[in-house]
């Protein structure tokens, strides 16, 4: 009897705290939920276990959960990989991953800490209610026990710190959402894609100077199922399709040269067609060949640099995208969030002409589909358009349901890769200038600035590699505007300070850069012109050339 009373008290507290708009009694909420899920065995299994757990999960000396959430990703994958015209791998995979979060405590302070941040397991692929529920049951039990441990651990850890006068809640209220969308499935012509990547890499035959040519094609269909004890039920799906090309060569002096272009779209049919990919491969291998002959950047340079959109996206993703996420700092730390802009709220972080919006609700841009678009995030919160930077000033962080100072509720950016915890993540991040300039105008500015500074040339970057190292870097000569490809350079101090102080203009040539990975994202950025950046020689060691020649081709 006593246990039952505590249990009821627990649910009552959870419910009064929840920001559920309608005050429905529990039975009708449950009935409504089951009505929505009808016909979807997985959703029904999740709801059945959710009901059972929220009513009865309770240990002696431990509070009942005030919140339980289940998220399932049903992932269908197809991967193929080719090298030198032959297939290395071709594989289909289907997996269902369940992530369970059980929270003990209350919204103000709860067990979401260390092992209490949830756990994952795999679920049966068959729609068998009992088999599904057994796995859900076990994981819920484990998550509740972990939450109990974590809650105790956290309360004791907090004793080390003096109490925060303005404490920030551990978990944000969120509206109840019911949105069950159709599931997506992986439909593609595997044979054709295998053929395409083989043909792409088969071009190695025409390029004896290039050492390695590999390509891969990866496709996935991810259906996400989300239910929580507040009554939210979401089902949505997305597709992800990526083709990657990798080419590597060595210059005569041993310097390693690489190119890795990739193409990402939601639907396989939106990827470039075979002919176009073959052309892109030729272009890539041509540039590798050219790079081998290109002069090395020996002396350091300080002056204007122009980034093409295909390079601008990487810079903006790293320097801006990575620093505007509202991530709660470690326990006891006073900062708002982590990253370079943690203390820059309402401060100018970019030039005045530059504004940044993250808009996951946008489906297309310039006729191109955006992989960063979604309706409801991985925490069951509807996507929102967020004005991140307005006229250079930081106005908003992207946040999920973990509040940070000044941002008590989610703006629909809590997103997760299959099986992992949700974190604030960009959706579609759009960079826009109030005074966009033409590419020709930017080029003219580049050479004019170089001349003004008494330099024979300025630098223009076409595309970047890891660590923002330029893969294709050109000297643009002030005398006649001709370009010269160079190699072996890196940027020095290409950081948020440079972005705020040295970025002088943006182009009118925004490029949609769809980015694959666990959480699909899109960056839309135009050309960027900096008035001063340092370009210096990379201090990578030169490797030895191959010990003996490559085998002769028989075909």
């Amino acid at each position: 009897m006593l246990a039952a009373a505590i249990l009821l008290a627990g649910t009552a507290r959870a419910r009064t705290n929840a920001a559920a708009p309608e005050d429905l009694d529990r039975d009708s909420t449950t009935a409504k939920a089951h009505e929505v899920a009808k016909g979807d065995v997985l959703l029904e299994a999740l709801l059945t276990e959710l009901d059972r757990s929220k009513d009865r999960l309770k240990m002696d000396q431990v509070k009942s959960p005030y919140y339980i959430e289940y998220r399932v990703e049903d992932v269908e994958n197809y991967d193929a990989e080719a090298a030198f015209g032959a297939l290395l791998n071709s594989q289909r995979q289907h997996i269902r991953v369940l992530r369970v979060v059980v929270r003990i405590g209350e919204y103000k302070q709860d067990s979401f800490y260390g092992p209490g941040m949830g756990g994952a397991t795999i679920l049966p692929l068959d729609d068998d209610p009992i088999a599904l529920r057994r796995q859900i049951w076990l994981m819920t039990d484990e998550a509740y026990k972990s939450a109990a441990d974590a809650y105790a651990e956290k309360l004791s850890a907090l004793k080390q710190f003096s109490a925060d006068p303005n404490p920030i809640d551990d978990f944000a209220m969120a509206p109840v959402v019911t949105k069950v969308e159709p599931v997506v499935s992986l439909r593609l012509d595997e044979g054709a894609w295998k053929q395409t990547i083989q043909e792409m890499t088969n071009q190695f035959r025409k390029y004896p100077e290039v050492q390695t040519v590999t390509a891969s094609a990866r496709f996935s269909a991810v259906n996400q199922y989300f239910v929580n004890s507040e009554g939210t039920i979401v089902r949505n799906g997305h597709l992800n399709s990526t083709v990657t090309l990798n080419g590597a060569a060595q210059a005569a002096d041993g310097m390693r040269l690489q190119r890795n272009p990739y193409w990402t779209e939601a639907r396989p049919e939106d990827l470039p067609k075979r002919g176009e990919l073959l052309k892109e491969t030729t272009k890539t291998l041509d540039t590798l060949k050219a790079l081998r002959e290109a002069p090395i950047v020996e002396e350091s340079y300080r002056g204007p640099v122009l980034f093409a959109p295909d390079a601008a996206d990487d810079i903006m993703a790293g320097l801006v995208g990575g620093n505007i996420l509202g991530r709660k700092p470690q326990l006891g730390k006073p900062n708002r969030t982590v990253g370079a802009f943690a203390t820059s709220y309402k401060t100018r972080i970019l030039p005045k002409f530059l504004s940044v919006v993250d808009d996951p609700t946008m489906k297309e841009f310039d006729g191109k589909k955006l992989v960063g678009s979604y309706d409801v995030d991985s925490e069951g919160v509807p996507a929102q358009t967020v004005k991140v930077v307005d006229d250079g000033t930081l106005e908003n962080y992207l946040v999920g349901r973990q509040p940070i100072r000044d941002f008590p509720s989610s703006n629909g950016h809590g997103r997760a890769a299959p099986g992992t915890a949700a974190f604030p993540t960009i959706g579609t991040l759009i960079f826009k200038s109030s005074e966009p300039e033409t590419v020709a105008g930017l080029k003219k500015k580049l050479t004019a600035m170089a001349s003004d500074q008494g330099k024979p040339y300025g630098y223009r970057v076409d595309t970047l590699g890891p660590g923002n190292a330029p893969r294709l870097l050109y000297r643009v000569y002030a005398s006649d505007g001709h370009e010269e490809l160079v190699r072996g350079a890196v940027f020095n101090e290409l950081d948020v300070r440079a972005l705020r102080n040295d970025l002088v203009a943006l182009g009118n040539d925004p490029l949609v850069s769809n980015r694959a990975g666990g959480v699909p994202q899109t960056i839309i950025a135009p050309s960027l012109l900096f008035d001063e950046l340092e370009v210096k020689r990379a201090d990578t060691s030169k490797e030895k050339l191959p010990e003996y020649p490559a085998p002769e081709l028989k075909k």
Binding site: L57, K58, F84, A86, L125, I130, A131, R134, P546, P551
Partner: protein, 597 residues
């Protein structure tokens, strides 16, 4: 996304082993699937004399590229003196089920290669001591054998391997010059006669995937009835493999094989938090050779019944006294306690405990026991052996090695790494793809000429307990695996993990099932306490993990009576059994079989 249920289910069980592994060498034998099967395992194929200048296109491409590398790299300084290519083909199907539904259903097809290179001289080369891993570089090869692409990848890997091996050799030379002389001054690589052998290609046996998916569903579904079996899986792994090897010494070997393995696992948790596990493994050359569904269903029922009994069984107290090990338990015991210490490379590694290194010619076991490791045997007592192969991973033909004859230590399990007094491989150089081979066990077979009929052993255990004035002896019926430590910096200890253990009372009370016992001890002492053995050989098939990776092995032994064995309490988690009853195991609406709040 690569994590399949295999790794999920083994995670918890090896907590102890993993913890120890962080501190030193630790070798675990388990009945479960740990990773993909070793690839040198031979199937049932009939051997065919090697066709001269084999017609296998893949071997030809490998040989062509190997010859080019051999010739061209001979001009480099330092130059390699040995080079080999091994290409592994794998075509595997994994079907995993739990509680009547499939958890995973994957087909894996891949071809990967290990390029092995030795720079310097056989006396001293780049693989010496700690730099052993510099001898190998691995990568994926085209699936269809395209000659141009295959040769190109082999060339890339060979070049990359040379760039690791050459500096490693220079390091080894410097280190050897500045460090104190090693105790065992054996060369790094032994001489061998290169073999050519092409095993007959196998026609893959028909496999009805759909029917097996349904069977896995049904057999795993058998556990639905049991509310206290918290976790249960049935995993079927069926496939064919092929290993091709060519070396600069002239070896050219191709060994196709096929295997089917079915593993059933069921787990529960006692009220004190101890996880209890039952595992059954079946092995056959093809899925058709696995036990019938009826047999599997019976096993499932038995496993569930065992777990139910185990949950209620009392925890055993620490004890030292007479003990009877079933054949399977004795087999695992020998694999851990003796087998790992017979692996050749452990006799020269200065970090190793070298329990038996200097005991050749001495008595280490009771006179009535002999031990061989014989990978050439395919079957014993009607059971297929998992550790059977024709050639080891260094291309040496598998050999029967008499390790202990009438209690006297005779030999070690040798790869091509020589040790003092043993300068040749005896066909036990084994590895999982991607790792350098070391001396490993294949089929470790213990025989006895002091036997009694098995059914008499229980009475002998009682007699021995009475003789020693003990209230009971222990009977170890089944064992899940074990691990052992062989490094010098740690105690020379072993631990085997029994799952079904009974107290056999001297006063005639019925036997009592107990749980939570681990056999512990030190090898030299434990082995001399064997009094007598049963008259029937029993087989334990498993996967053994050590420095050179996971390889399939068998251990075979009769039941054994020990005058004394020491057991300790098993360390276990404190987490309670699930709070709510299992879905579907509820008689009425939600009637609890779990623990109530």
């Amino acid at each position: 996304m690569q994590s399949l249920p295999v790794s999920f289910s083994t995670r918890r069980k090896f907590r102890v082993a993993r913890t120890l592994a962080r501190h030193g060498a630790c070798f675990a034998l388990a009945a479960q699937l740990i990773s993909l099967p070793g690839l040198a395992a031979a199937g049932e194929e009939k051997d065919k004399p090697a066709a001269k200048g084999s017609a296998d296109a893949m071997l030809q491409v490998m040989q062509g590229e190997l010859n080019r590398a051999k010739t061209d790299l001979a001009k480099s300084d330092p130059a390699p003196y040995f080079l080999s290519y091994t290409v592994y083909d794998q075509d595997q199907i994994f079907i995993a089920g739990a509680y009547g539904a499939l958890l995973s259903d994957t087909a894996v097809k891949r071809r990967n290669t290990d390029v092995t290179m030795r720079v310097g001289t056989p006396e001293l080369d780049n693989t010496h001591g700690q730099s052993r891993s510099s001898g190998m570089t691995s990568g994926n090869l085209p699936l269809d054998g395209d000659p141009d692409a295959t040769a190109r990848v082999l060339w890339e890997l060979t070049d990359r391997e040379y760039k690791r091996a050459a500096p490693a050799y220079l390091n080894v030379k410097t280190n050897t010059a500045v460090k104190a002389e090693e105790e065992d001054k054996s060369p790094d690589f032994s001489k061998a006669d290169p073999k050519t052998h092409v095993g007959e290609k196998l026609t893959p046996p028909p496999f009805d995937k759909k029917a097996w998916e349904d069977e896995v569903r049904r057999v795993s579904g058998a556990f639905r009835k049991y509310g206290d079996v918290y976790y249960a899986t049935v995993i079927l792994q069926v496939g064919s493999s092929n290993a091709r090897m060519v070396s600069s010494e002239g070896a050219a070997i191709e060994t196709p094989s096929a295997s089917a393995r079915l593993v059933m696992e069921a787990q529960t948790r006692a009220d004190d938090g101890m996880d209890l596990l039952r595992v059954e493994t079946f092995q056959a050359p093809a899925a058709s050779g696995l036990p019938s569904e009826a047999v599997l269903m019976e096993k499932a029922a038995k496993m569930a019944a065992d777990l139910k009994d185990l949950r209620k069984a009392p925890v055993a107290e620490p004890y030292a006294g007479p003990a009877l090990l079933s054949g399977r338990a004795a087999a695992v015991f020998f694999h851990e306690v003796l087998g790992h210490r017979m692996e050749g490379h452990r006799q020269r590694d200065e970090e190793e405990g070298q329990t038996f290194t200097k005991k050749v010619g001495q008595e280490v076991l009771p006179k009535f026991l002999s031990v061989v490791d014989d990978p050439t045997v395919g079957e014993i007592s009607g059971m297929k052996l998992a550790g059977t192969y024709e050639f080891d991973n260094e291309g040496t033909p598998a050999q029967k090695v008499v390790v202990i004859q009438d209690g006297v230590l005779k030999n070690f399990l040798m790869s091509r790494m020589p040790i003092k007094g043993f300068d040749k491989s005896n066909g036990h150089g084994r590895n999982q793809p991607g790792l350098m081979p070391t001396g490993r066990q294949g089929n470790l077979i213990v025989t006895s000429n002091q036997t009694v009929p098995e059914r008499q052993l229980r009475q002998m255990l009682i007699d021995e307990a009475k003789k020693q004035g003990k209230p009971y002896g222990l009977y170890f019926d089944d064992i899940q695996g074990g691990f052992t430590l062989t490094t010098r910096s740690l105690p020379q200890a072993f631990q085997v993990l029994p799952v079904i253990v009974y107290k056999v009372y001297a006063d005639g009370r019925p036997d009592e099932l107990v749980r939570g016992v681990d056999i512990v001890g030190t090898p030299l002492a434990a082995l001399t306490r064997i009094i007598t053995t049963g008259d029937t050989q029993h087989v334990f098939n498993g996967v053994c993990g050590a420095e050179s990776g996971s390889v399939p092995v068998s251990a075979v032994a009769p039941a054994m009576l020990f005058s004394e064995m020491e057991v300790q309490k098993r360390a276990h988690g404190r987490e309670r059994p699930p709070i709510l009853p299992a879905p579907g195991a509820e008689g009425g609406k939600d009637d609890a079989t779990g623990v109530k709040p």
